[in-house]
Amino acid sequence: MSAAPESLERLIELMARLPGLGPRSARRAVLHLLGKRGQLLLPLAEAMRDAGQNVRDCVICGNVGLADECAICADERRANGQICVVEEVSDLWAMERAGVFKGRYHVLGGTLSALDAIGPDELRIPRLVDRVASEGVTEVILALGATVDGQTTTHYIADRLPDVTVTSLAQGVPVGGELDYLDEGTISAALKARRGL
């Protein structure tokens, strides 16, 4: 039997499903919220309700926004013919933080994984194929993880888009990194991707 009242139990149970939280940390977080009811708990509840009601997935690219089309898809200046394909919205945000990419995005919502029953139709791959045909796209940049699933998805998409230039992000030495700290796989990828100066 739990010591917490039922409604709190429910809250703890929901919190424990968040990434990075378990039952113990969820209890701590809930008690912390209760201790700061005015400053934290109620504003948080309000912000969550607001997000739940107003934030939606962009019908074009899968980014999150406040309208059917996200701010990037609605921005005509970003129609430069390039589409950058990422796994998740967090990756899109990471790209945007770098602030160098001036084109549009396509958020897949994951990677191909037969074992997890995630096929092309579960991702936004058919939608990507449509966009490439209809939006005057000149280059598709694949910015997927260097994992087996990420690379499988990269191969798959490249294979599905024979009529457009498909590129992928370089793999190798991180900026400001020292070779001594790199694993063998990274070094061999960097060596393979070397270029003339």
């Binding site: 037969a114 798959y156 294979d159 796989g185």
Partner: protein, 365 residues
């Protein structure tokens, strides 16, 4: 460089509640009755290399019963402090010099090779065991082999799932086959290079153990060597694979063939004792090749090996280990098995009292 395990401390690990042993780099002979906990000590040493150790056990199986509190191994390995442990119900964790580390980083500290009784039937049982044996030897030369094998395995599991689900998306197969091709090429290349190194070590060794001729075989046809050809072979095999529900070509189906060179007899047709001698010969060749090419003498674990050898062979095995300069962990049921080692080794007696293993250092028998 010779990797030395200079201290091993076990806490609630299998039959050991608290065992601390200091080693000076000489071979370590451990004796005691069956079930005393010798192999558990050897297993702890094997867990200082990447993977699940010589029993291929899951983290939760390593815990002392009935307490089941979680276990810990603390070792001083090649001058570094290695800690590996698992709390009850948790995955195994690893720290090197106080910092969280990956298991692959252990391969950079020391190479650990082993021979255990469950490998006695290696030459007569299925190809899987021989492949694993070859892959461990390969891994000792090429630490990157583990990653290639994992990538290959992962992509193949995905492909097998597509086959089972009768998925017909050619692009999806193609994407997975490209990955399997790239990883497969590395696997094929590493294995071939490892066999060449072993063959060289076998041919140039002064040893009392039989020289095996090693070769890799593949069912029904030659295995393509490069990524493009492997990828193409997989694509070509799709209809057959769909019918079978699994992948039928690729390095995951390779087999290691050994022939007792002097007699021209296949390993599987040799006597039990001869089969064991071939394994010993291979593990010594592996160690010599590492010493010669990498300049690094591995740690050897030879569990219950001495008992299978006559006194003369045993003496030669000990001479060869000492000549290699390897820190070998040997187990046996009694001290008389190690007489020929004399002052060239350290000795540990392992006994069991009330369900707890007690390991005590002893003078040379």
């Amino acid at each position: 460089m010779t990797a030395v395990l200079s201290r091993l401390a076990l806490s609630h690990f299998r039959s050991h509640r608290r065992t601390v042993l200091d080693f000076d780099g000489r071979p370590v002979a451990m004796w005691g009755p069956n079930g005393a906990g010798k192999t558990n000590l050897a297993e702890a040493v094997s867990l200082l290399s990447p993977g699940r150790g010589l029993r291929r056990a899951a983290a939760e199986d390593l815990v002392r019963r009935p307490e089941a509190l979680g276990w810990k191994i603390v070792a001083t390995l090649a001058g570094h402090e290695v800690e590996t442990w698992a709390e009850a119900g948790q995955a195994r964790a690893l720290r090197v010099d106080g910092k969280a580390a990956t298991q692959t980083s252990l391969a950079a500290l020391a190479r650990v090779l082993w021979l255990v009784p469950s490998m006695d039937r290696l030459w007569i049982e299925g190809a899987e065991g021989r492949r694993r044996f070859l892959d461990r030897m390969t891994l000792s030369f090429f630490p990157g082999h583990a990653e290639a094998a994992l990538d290959y395995e992962r992509a193949m599991r995905e492909r097998n799932r597509l086959l089972k689900d009768m998925v017909r998306d050619a692009h999806w197969y193609g994407a997975l086959e490209a990955q399997m091709g790239a990883a497969g090429e590395a696997i094929v290349r590493n294995r071939a290079a490892a066999i060449a190194r072993l063959a060289y070590a076998v041919a140039n060794a002064d040893t009392a153990f039989p020289a095996p001729d090693l070769s890799l075989t593949h069912p029904d046809r030659d295995l393509p060597q490069d990524a493009a050809a492997l990828t193409a072979a997989l694509a070509e095999s799709r209809p057959r694979d769909l019918a079978a529900g699994r992948t039928l070509v690729g390095p995951h189906r390779a087999d290691l063939d050994a022939v007792w060179a002097a007699k021209g007899v296949a390993a599987r047709d040799c006597s039990t004792g001869e089969q064991k001698a071939l394994l010993i010969s291979l593990i010594l060749a592996n160690a010599r090749a590492l010493a010669a090419v990498e300049g690094e003498v591995p740690i050897l674990i030879l569990d219950e090996v001495s008992a299978h050898l006559d006194a003369q062979r045993r003496a030669r095995l000990y001479d060869e280990i000492v000549a290699l300069g390897a820190q070998a962990f040997l187990t046996g049921t009694g001290p008389e098995l190690f007489e020929e080692l004399g002052a060239r080794a350290q000795y540990v007696e392992v006994a069991e009292e009330g369900g707890v293993s007690i390991a005590t250092e002893r003078p040379a028998p």
